[in-house]
Structure formats: structure tokens, C-alpha cells
Amino acid sequence: MSRIAKAFDHGKAFIGFVTGGDPTLDKSEEFILEMLRAGADLVEIGIPFSDPIAEGPTIQAANIRALANGATVDGCFELARRVRAKTDVPLVFLTYLNPVFRRGYDKFFADCKNSGVDGVIIPDMPFEEQGEAKPIAAKYDVDVISLIAPTSEARIAEIASQAAGFIYVVSSMGVTGVRSEITTDLNAIITQIRKVSEVPAAIGFGISTAQQAREMSKYADGVIVGSAIVKLCEKYGADAGSKIYEYVKTMKEAAAGS
């Protein structure tokens, strides 16, 4: 069983996100370890990109902070290696395609394997454009995580039937960021996924409160929280560790239904 599969085999999973190098690589490592101590089942590390078109203002700002502080793709691999040395919890990169393409698919995915990165989420590489990267990722046992959106409709079955790792269900239209209300019929989407796939499905985009986490985990196998954690990084900077621990603990408990 892969590390990602294991993350979903003991109840509802909590997936947390940090932008690599925000504010520094050392601090990102500390924040990830705090998330793990608080019960996070999987961690997404964002590789900072100059133009993150699927991100709202919070994560855009984190990308800018990280790049201004000298974050690099190499640095994010180093961060993954350091975390992997301390834990078996699955690590997934969230990155735009250009940094992957520029490094070269073979080198990028080989580096993933060597750094203990289990999967990649690439928001600007939809199903139809995965042909170049996916076979190379597979060669290095890296899962390319598929996204399903509120507008996917007939595409759901096609995407889900070929999904690997977990399926990232986008809760809402638009970019990432905290939302007070999620109006998409996620139950219907998950039901369609379930007809064709056993791969775990986690819901992300806009989730920040314990109540939302409880609600989402009724339908899904996990909840993904990004912007709300990054907001803590923004607000508390180098001192965000303990705040992240407290927050993730609450959210994990809510997701797990305890």
C-alpha cells in the first residue's frame, strides 16, 4: 500500500498545505512537523511560482514572500527530504507546470522519488494535457493527483476512472481562498466519483472552519485546508508554529468526527 493510500485507511483524512519557503525553508519544515504532530494525514507543499493563476490573494502573497526570501525548486526538494527523514506521512507537491517542465519531467519526478515526494498536484495541467508527464511520474512511482471541479459534469467519470493517489475535489468556482459558504452539490459529485473509482476523494478550496470540515467529511474521505493555514503564516510569520498546531488539531478532530 502506498503512503498516500495509508493516509486514508484510518478514517477521514486531514490534508494541510504550506508554501515552501514561506517565510524560510527551516520554518516551513517546522510548520509541517507541527501539522503532523497535530494529526495531519498528508501534507501539501506548494512550490512557489511567480504567477499562480489558480490562487487567491492569500496564497499569491505567500508565493511572493517565499520567492522574495530566495525559495527555489531545489529548496523545496531539500525541504521534502528533511521532512521525509522524520516521517512516513505522504508528501505532495502543489506546483504549476512550468517549474516542472523547466526542470525536465524526468529529473523532476526522479527528484520527487529521491526526496520522498509521493504525488504532485498541478492545477494548470488538466486531464487532457497529462500525457507528457504522467508516464514519467509513474516510472518514479509519483502519483499525478487529478482535480475535479463543480463544472466537470460528464468529465467526472473519465477523470475519476483514471485517477491515482487521491482525487482533489474543488469545492467551488474560482481561485483558492477562505469562503464563508460552499454551495456546490459535493455529495452528487462524490457519488459520481464512487461509481467508477475506489481512489479516495478529498475536498479542498475555501475550507477554513471546523464546521465546514465536519460537513465536508460527511461526503468525502478527507478535507484539504490551504489558505487558512497560510493566513496563520502571514499573520504570525516565524512564530506561526504553535498557532498552526492548535488550528490543525481542531480541524483534524472536526474532520475525523471526534
Binding site: G56, D124, P126, R155
Partner: protein, 394 residues
């Protein structure tokens, strides 16, 4: 053509949320481009509203002065709204209406596409919102006010480098949030398929007319056609119907800013590498980490770190040539054209004029070249004055 590929370039690298919408746009466009009623309506607007066909003007004084091939100017600056951008927006606005959309959004650099989009939206009764880098709203303040006069809302984009690239980012973010009533009226031959094809088809009228006009005037094809290139819409429009004419050189002029040996330029072909950004695989100015590079040009319309995928293909196959032209050369050409022909061109188009000044004297008098004068320069007068150190009280 699968997923809108031009050789290795193109594609649809966009978030899943947009995929069904972009597939729908592709299908609707494929339908309407062959619909006689749609094409007749567009043709009527181009003639009756946009002032097409545009003149092919023989620049006699310039020809005499340069001493070489005959110089013709394809006068897109005489179109309604003052640039070639009107060709595309009328087509896309009609398409948006056919698709049942009530609102259009658009990015703009110099403001020419924004003004054109706002114009088409006003004419056809569509709500319109424009995204423009904050820096560009300052250097093109007049165009911001023009857009507002036309009933559009202008959003100053404060993310990133606050220029055209960031305006595209923000327009894409807006579109991901709202597709049900909104069409993204992309202004150049870039972005995910089908945009590079749609915009090229609507701009191809430039070379369709120019080819007929030059054959009528000269009885033979030109030696070269020359256009400025940012994303590349006027250039592809100028090139398209000459691509099959192998004797006609296709020359795109990139913004070299302070020079391609500096880090202050927007010369994608000269200095960029293949990458994936803004929905397409193409050539981009970027660093070793794949971060998109901040670019610079005196011209807000050419201040873009990428180029359309069809241009990337024309470059890789060698069919078209791309040359860098600096700020200094362009300002010089801007002044030259004003004094020599009495035409104040857009600073973007002046990049093409600048290269023509070098090329034309090397060609025999029996040949001709066509420069695409993509826009008029009223918007640039204040910036040029500033560049020259002249103070104007506005």
C-alpha cells in the same frame, strides 16, 4: 489538430474548472465560423462600423528617403478605436452573444484592446470589465478614462509586476470564478486553445486585404511583411495569408527595451525558452527555476513575457523571422514617421517601422515591403515627451 496544437506548441493548460467552458467555446466557434449569418453580421460590422477595409498606403516620402524597396503601410491605425484590436473584439463579442453571455472581461496592456473590448461591449449591449496592470493604468491613463466613458469597469491589477502578464492572470482568475454569464475576450493570439485560433482568424483580415491590395498595386507579392510582436495578434494577422507564399519574408519585431544584452527587455524569441504558461505551451522569458521573468518595454502593449504558440511554431520551423528592436530605435522611428509621412503611430507599431528602416535600403527598388501600422499613437504622445525629457502641461 488536437487540443489546438501548432507543432509542439499550444494546448490547453488551464484549471479543470474551465475545461468544459473552453470545450464549449471551441464547439461554438467551430459552428459559427462557418455560419453564413454570423460571418455576414461580422463582415457588416467590420465594413460599416470598424471602417474596413483599411488603407494600404504607399509611403512615398519614406520610400524616397530610405532608397530601396517601396514601403507600404497597412493602416490599421485608421480603424475605429485606432488599432487592429477592433477586428478581434467584434468577432468575439458576436460569438459571446451567440453563446448567451451577457458579460465580457478582458486584459489590456497599452489599453488598445481594453478600449476595443469596451467599444464592442457598448455597441452590442454587453457588460464589460477590464483588467489592467496598475503601472499600465498610470502610463496609459487616457485609455483608462476612454474605457470608462464607454461604460466599462477598469480594475487596476496590483499583483506581480502590475503589467500585462498580471492583467492576464487576474482576468483568468475572474473567469474561473464566473463562466456562466461571462466570456473572456482574450486580446491576443495566446492563451489556451481555441483562443490562438479564434484571434488569428479574426485578425487574418489584415493580410487578406493586404495581399489583394498589394497585388492590385504592384502586380506581385511583397518581399517582406513586417509587424511588431507582443503576444502577436497584429503580426499573425499580417502574416497569415502570406504564410503559403514562400517568397514573402515574415518579420516580427520584438521589444528589446534597453537591449537584449540587458535584463530590461521583452524579447521572448531572442531570450526565452520553451515553457507552459497562460494556458499554452510556447516560448517565455523565464529563469532557471521556471519562474516567469519580469519584462520591460517602453511599449505597454509589447511588455509581455511570452508569445503566441503559432509564432513559436513559425519561429521553430524558420518560416518567420523575429528581430529585437530597442526603445531608442522605436522612439526614433516614431518621430521619423511623424515627420516624414505625417503619421503618429503607436509606439508598438514604431518597432516595426524601426526595423523597416534598416531592411528597406538593402532591398532593390523593384521590391516592396508592407509594415503593419497596428495602431495610432495619440495614447503615446505624453510618454514619448517624457522619454525625450519634454514637459507637457496636460
Amino acid at each position: 489538430m488536437t487540443n489546438g496544437r501548432f507543432g509542439d506548441f499550444g494546448g490547453q493548460y488551464i484549471p479543470e474548472t474551465l475545461m468544459n467552458e473552453i470545450h464549449r467555446l471551441t464547439a461554438e466557434y467551430e459552428h459559427y465560423r462557418n455560419d453564413p449569418e454570423f460571418t455576414a453580421e461580422l463582415d457588416a460590422l467590420l465594413r460599416g462600423y470598424a471602417n474596413r477595409p483599411s488603407l494600404l498606403y504607399f509611403a512615398e516620402k519614406m520610400t524616397r528617403d530610405l532608397g530601396g524597396a517601396k514601403v507600404y503601410l497597412k493602416r490599421e491605425d485608421l480603424n475605429h478605436t485606432g488599432s487592429h484590436k477592433i477586428n478581434n473584439v467584434l468577432g468575439q463579442a458576436l460569438l459571446a452573444k451567440r453563446m448567451g453571455k451577457t458579460r465580457v472581461i478582458a486584459e489590456t496592456g497599452a489599453g488598445q484592446h481594453g478600449v476595443a473590448a469596451a467599444t464592442a461591449a457598448a455597441l452590442l449591449g454587453l457588460e464589460c470589465e477590464i483588467f489592467m496592470g496598475r503601472e499600465d493604468t498610470e502610463r496609459q491613463a487616457l485609455n483608462v478614462y476612454r474605457m470608462e466613458l464607454l461604460g466599462a469597469k477598469v480594475n487596476a491589477v496590483t499583483s506581480g509586476t502590475q503589467t500585462l502578464k498580471d492583467a492576464v492572470n487576474e482576468a483568468m482568475r475572474e473567469w474561473v470564478a464566473r463562466t456562466h454569464d461571462t466570456h473572456y475576450m482574450l486580446g491576443s493570439v495566446m492563451g489556451p486553445h481555441p483562443f490562438p485560433t479564434i484571434v488569428r482568424d479574426f485578425q487574418a483580415v489584415i493580410s487578406k486585404e493586404a495581399r489583394e491590395q498589394i497585388l492590385e498595386r504592384e502586380g506581385k507579392l511583397p518581399a517582406a511583411v513586417i509587424a511588431c510582436v507582443g503576444g502577436g495578434s497584429n503580426a499573425i494577422g499580417m502574416f497569415y495569408n502570406f504564410i503559403g507564399d514562400s517568397s514573402v519574408r515574415l518579420i516580427g519585431c520584438e521589444a528589446a527595451g534597453h537591449g537584449i544584452e540587458t535584463d530590461k527587455h521583452a524579447a521572448t524569441i531572442a531570450k526565452g525558452q520553451t515553457g507552459v504558461f497562460h494556458g499554452m505551451k510556447s516560448i517565455f522569458c523565464q529563469d532557471d527555476n521556471g519562474q516567469i521573468a519580469p519584462v520591460y518595454s517602453i511599449s505597454a502593449g509589447l511588455d509581455y513575457p511570452g508569445i503566441g504558440p503559432e509564432h513559436a511554431q513559425l519561429h521553430s520551423t524558420g518560416r518567420a523571422e523575429y528581430v529585437p528592436v530597442t526603445d531608442d530605435e522605436s522612439v526614433d522611428a516614431f518621430e521619423y514617421l511623424a515627420r516624414t509621412e505625417g503619421i503618429i503611430s503607436a509606439i508598438e507599431s514604431a518597432h516595426a517601422v524601426a526595423y523597416a528602416r534598416k531592411l528597406v535600403p538593402t532591398l532593390p527598388e523593384s521590391e516592396s515591403v508592407i509594415i503593419c501600422l497596428s495602431g495610432r499613437g495619440d495614447k503615446d504622445v505624453a510618454a514619448i515627451a517624457k522619454y525625450k525629457g519634454v514637459t507637457i502641461n496636460e
